[in-house]
Point group: C2
Chain length 203, copies 2
Amino acid sequence: MNRIITISRELGSGGRELGKRLAEALDIAYYDKEIVEALAQKSGLAEEYLEGISEKRISFYYPITYSNSFSLEPIRYQNNIMAQQNEIIKELAEKSDCVIVGRAADVILADYHPLRIFVYAEMAARIERCRRRDHGHERTDWEYKKFIKATDRNRSHYRDLIGDREWGNPLTCDLMVNTTNISIKSIIPGLVAYQEGYFQSLK
Amino acid sequence: MNRIITISRELGSGGRELGKRLAEALDIAYYDKEIVEALAQKSGLAEEYLEGISEKRISFYYPITYSNSFSLEPIRYQNNIMAQQNEIIKELAEKSDCVIVGRAADVILADYHPLRIFVYAEMAARIERCRRRDHGHERTDWEYKKFIKATDRNRSHYRDLIGDREWGNPLTCDLMVNTTNISIKSIIPGLVAYQEGYFQSLK
């Protein structure tokens, strides 16, 4: 069975950077936006539209032409997109060893016994990381905090839809990494060694 | 400044084994019961008596001759023992690099910027580990569960006494290790590499 490493992350914790660097160090596939691209091809929907699906409440993304608050259509529509995304994630996991960021891949790929890493940080560090990323378009602390909390809420909501597990609950993770005080780069050799021992022990 | 690694752990998660193996691999000091021994020497109290102080509610340990539920004596007495223990922990941290298990050392040594590892596992795995340890004196699942939950509660209570931080809250840990599916031995090389990068990055 392929070695799958899933990364769940709080916005602004550096989880994406961690996933990318870890995949590079291990020389294995890295999937993040690639999943959205594949989904766009499969579903015929725009990437920009699909991108937010695991980040925002799906109802926001429901095409306006179908809008009817008493209809079950939005839920069916949403389930259909999610089912397609899950299928793509399983296809990727079948292909080769890989790192998958977000999209509840740890739950979807439970049968593959992935190493489930959760990346988190203190609020001040998360704000700082978001600000660095927005270089030239910085917002206030208050605006970042509001945005971060809303994203946390929506990711957690997406998790509720996909399975019965609680986002960020330690028992649904194998390793939780606090990036508040450190550079992501510095801990990659440690994670490379950790996953090696982890997968050997799992056999 | 010395490199300090603190291990907080759930009962039955293998945190003590992890701490011991990590200290061995790094060839640095390991403190666990040694703290109790030093405390016994310092306070003149019996080791058996002191051993439970960070595991059980301190009032249980208050000598019966002082017992008076309307008196503040037990609290003063308890604070005195805790202060002595904290002093010993700081002395050990000053001496050399070390791994310290339990006793809220991560809070007491906050100024030393320790790598704070939290070790945890699913209930079934914790019961199983306790049972292996009790070889020949096994108890029922229900008894283990009750004992584990009581110990969790008391450790958490001890944390409340020592500082304002919440036991097992990810934001009070730097790395959280779920030992449910793996052997402790297998992840030691990963932790050795992780702490190396962590302390380098912290500088």
